[in-house]
């Protein structure tokens, strides 16, 4: 009798919630949820402490402020009135419900490479998310950029709708990695240099770019500034845990690791690693840096007194707790924004279930002047096999001004 009542209750609940879900649908929703992980929807559309996908924090772009909108199925403030076709169009062409043009801060120039099945799965998942009433004023750009129709011109100049083209000469794993990196993972949105219109410069694909006060580093196979010294295993470990023997994720990448890459499957992470490791580096700068000797001597003294306790006398760090600076690709980027920022403001490692310690670097802005930071960075960039150009005090001053306006 007890069992019968229980079954009745379950049945009644199912009836009130809606039509019973078929196994196929459930699978599709699960696949869609994974697409949301690959695409890191939460990275922009979740506000810390807010309801999932109900709208994000203001995104400071070089052109003005945009806020990622509410993409829960709420009919008035979310995308509850959208059709699946609307959603396909938004992802593939940047044109949403009622022909509204999206700004490319929504990475449709990458999502356009996603295949129809993945987009349908993602849509199936999004329709099951809890609808949240949260009105987001997404467009806070200045005139005339706030006219969405301007994106018509932008798209004509910078955007081509295209499907992902697999390379039949490469392995299935490589192609899976290429698909994730170029499509849903939209790695280039941060890591590819931008034109003055904010579009990806394809010639510099994944060679590093500046955004939100950080420099998203070169992730090609470059031995100095890229992932040339990382094994595939190193790369998988970094994406899964946020930390490996070479580096610790911080800043915007910490968020990407937390929301997205740490939740990807191991085969997908391996595929991403295989693909990234195959990207040939920019042969450009192979000239040995010749920093001024006096600055190197001063820089070394500053390093001994301020940095060596954690990063080691020879820049060899301490395992996965304090990153080695010798051979560290972040140290060798063409742009020193991240370096100056980390010394000035400090930095905390990402928290993942696999690496929960979150070691942090303290702020040194109170102790070191711009010139002193420039000297110590010049020393670090020119020591222990590192071979990157000197840093000027002006570079540091610009970052300090951003942090302490």
């Amino acid at each position: 009798m007890k069992k019968f009542v229980f079954t009745m209750v379950i049945g009644a609940t199912a009836l009130t919630v809606g039509p019973a879900m078929s196994a196929d649908q459930a699978d599709q929703i699960m696949r869609g949820q994974y697409q949301a992980v690959l695409g890191d929807c939460a990275g922009c559309h979740n506000q810390p402490g807010g309801k999932p996908l109900a709208g994000g924090l203001p995104l400071e772009t070089p052109f003005g402020t945009l806020v990622a909108p509410n993409i829960t199925p709420d009919r008035t403030t979310g995308i509850g009135n959208w059709t699946e076709t609307d959603f396909h169009n938004a992802m593939k062409t940047g044109i949403g419900h009622n022909g509204v043009r999206l700004y490319p801060a929504m990475p449709y120039p990458a999502y356009t490479r996603m295949n129809d099945r993945d987009i349908s799965d993602l849509w199936a998942y999004l329709t099951t998310v809890e609808p949240v009433s949260n009105k987001v004023e997404a467009n806070r750009l200045p005139f005339p950029l706030n006219i969405r129709l301007a994106m018509l011109g932008w798209n004509a100049l910078n955007f081509t709708e295209e499907a992902f083209k697999p390379d039949p000469a490469k392995s299935a794993e490589w192609n899976r990695g290429a698909y994730i990196v170029q499509g849903p993972g939209h790695c280039g949105t941060c890591h590819t240099p931008k034109s003055f219109l904010g579009a990806d410069k394809d010639s510099g694909f994944l060679q590093g770019a500046s955004l939100q006060g950080w420099f998203a580093p070169d992730i090609t196979g470059n031995a100095q500034s890229g992932l040339g010294k990382w094994s595939e295993g190193d790369l998988v470990r970094y994406l899964k845990t946020g930390v490996n023997a070479h580096s610790i994720a911080s800043g915007p990448m910490a968020e990407a690791v937390e929301n997205s890459t740490s939740k990807m499957t191991d085969p997908d992470l391996k595929a991403v690693a295989v693909y990234l490791k195959s990207l040939s580096p920019d042969p450009g700068n192979t000239q040995p840096a010749k920093p001024d000797e006096a600055r190197m001597a001063t820089g070394e003294a500053i390093y001994r007194d301020n940095c060596s306790a954690c990063h080691g006398g020879d820049g060899d760090g301490a395992g996965e707790l304090f990153p080695a600076l010798a051979g560290n690709s972040i140290v060798a980027q063409g742009n020193t924004e991240t370096l100056a920022r980390v010394v000035l403001a400090g930095s905390q490692a990402v928290h993942t279930t696999h690496a929960p310690t979150t070691p942090a670097m303290p702020s040194l802005a109170w102790r070191l002047k711009d010139q002193e930071i420039a000297d110590v960075l010049t020393y670090v960039r020119g020591s222990w096999g590192n071979n990157a150009p000197a840093v000027s005090s002006g570079d540091v001053a610009a970052v300090r001004k951003q942090l302490l306006p």
Binding site: T298, A301, E372, D375
Partner: protein
């Protein structure tokens, strides 16, 4: 032995303090649990303010002259180091007396004020700022009356004899100032000024650290622990830095 304790621990006092401790330790606001990342904020720092020499913030000019003369006898200039005055010990004491130390603002300062054992330190009601004010005035008026001179006008040997007598408690200072207790305070603060980080106003150019070979504000010696019987190669560094790398301007 119980007569040596000013407050006898009886049963009632013991039980009530245990009860108090239990209430405090089990109160729900006593601890909070954290999950995810440890609390952290960018640009966070709480460094001590660098004391800049010049002017007196607590001492009157007469008091300052007296303190400078005393610290220069406690640490006289010799072939080991500069003297306490040049090292900034009086500046250190002046700035400490205007802050939390001077006003005892971080200590329990209510009664009962009972006679203390020698091992218990000062147990009186006056805070260090008040003790300096009355103590220095007492020294001044005592010497004016006895010698017709101020401390600074005495010969070094006379100064040393006076300080030695103070330390031994053999000087009857006016206004109830205990000479040995006040000398102890002067000695303690002079040593602090001489050996503390220069950021606090004394230990000019890390003079005492250079004298001792103390490496200063460093906190990792992994590269050197196994190098037995070899001198540590790094010069001292203060919280502010060291001259080898401090740059002028912004």
């Amino acid at each position: 032995m119980s007569h040596r304790y000013p407050v006898r621990m009886n049963r009632r006092l013991f039980l009530s303090s245990v009860a108090m401790l239990t209430v405090t330790a089990t109160s729900p606001s006593f601890a909070r649990s954290l999950s995810g990342s440890l609390p952290w904020a960018p640009m966070a720092s709480d460094p001590p303010m660098q004391v800049l020499p010049g002017g007196w913030q607590f001492f009157t000019p007469q008091e300052a002259a007296l303190v400078e003369a005393i610290v220069d006898r406690i640490i006289p200039a010799d072939d080991l180091s500069i003297g306490g005055k040049e090292a900034g010990c009086a500046v250190y004491i002046d700035r400490q007396l205007t802050g939390a130390f001077g006003t005892s603002s971080r200590l329990y300062t209510q009664g009962p004020f009972l006679p203390a054992l020698p091992t218990q330190g000062y147990q009186g009601e006056a805070n260090p700022a008040q003790r300096y004010r009355t103590g220095l005035a007492a020294i001044d008026s005592f010497l004016k009356q006895r010698d017709g001179k101020s401390f600074a006008e005495l010969q070094p040997t006379e100064q040393d004899a006076f300080l030695t007598a103070m330390e031994a408690g053999k000087v009857e200072l006016p206004n109830g100032v205990k000479s040995s207790g006040f000398f102890g305070l002067l000695l303690q603060n002079t040593m602090e000024g001489f050996f503390a980080d220069p950021v606090y106003g004394g230990n000019k150019d890390m003079v005492s650290w250079r004298m001792l070979g103390f490496p200063g504000a460093r906190y990792d010696y992994r590269d050197h622990v196994s190098k037995h019987n070899q001198p540590y190669p790094q010069p001292p560094v203060s919280i502010e830095g060291r001259p080898e790398w401090l740059r002028k301007g912004a």
